[in-house]
Symmetry: C2
């Protein structure tokens, strides 16, 4: 594998890892926050998504990651976060 292909693969791996980390952080927050609707939750999520988008944008500029793939990573993460959010809300509702 060429050095550039290897770097591109590493870039994708790292971005996936970071997206997973954000999802885990959100899950932990959902479990531990009394109010997942609260602004702090939204702010943490926004900040993390912003950070990831910066990394993706940087990787795209270096030509290591395809721009559409980059958007897909963010979109996919948003869908996953929504799922976690909904699952938690459903659980809360059933407990009342």
């Amino acid at each position: 594998m060429s050095a550039e292909k290897q770097l591109s693969k590493t870039a994708y791996d790292q971005l996936d890892k970071d997206a997973d980390r954000i999802l885990q952080l959100i899950e932990v927050q959902m479990e531990n926050l009394t109010m997942p609707q609260c602004p702090v939750f939204e702010e943490v999520l926004d900040t993390q998504m912003f950070g990831l988008s910066k990394e993706i944008n940087f990787a795209v500029r270096l030509g290591l990651v395809d721009a559409q793939d980059g958007r897909d990573i963010l979109d996919h993460l948003e869908v996953e976060v929504s799922k976690v959010h909904e699952a938690y809300m459903e659980k809360e509702k059933n407990q009342v």
Copy 2:
């Protein structure tokens, strides 16, 4: 130049460009905000520094940028931002 060296050079160039962009943004803010001491200013700066640190960290993980160089980019930017801030404060003081 090898592909990896070329990518490393591009990574450094892009990070320098981003640091410059943040500094320019801060300068524009200083010129246009009535209250550069206000929390909005600090928040914009924090967010931008966070974004840049994410990019740097990403580049370091890919082995494209040396960890110490990455810290130096952030430190240097902080010094430059302080200078802009102080220069503005001095100007304001003299106008009163």
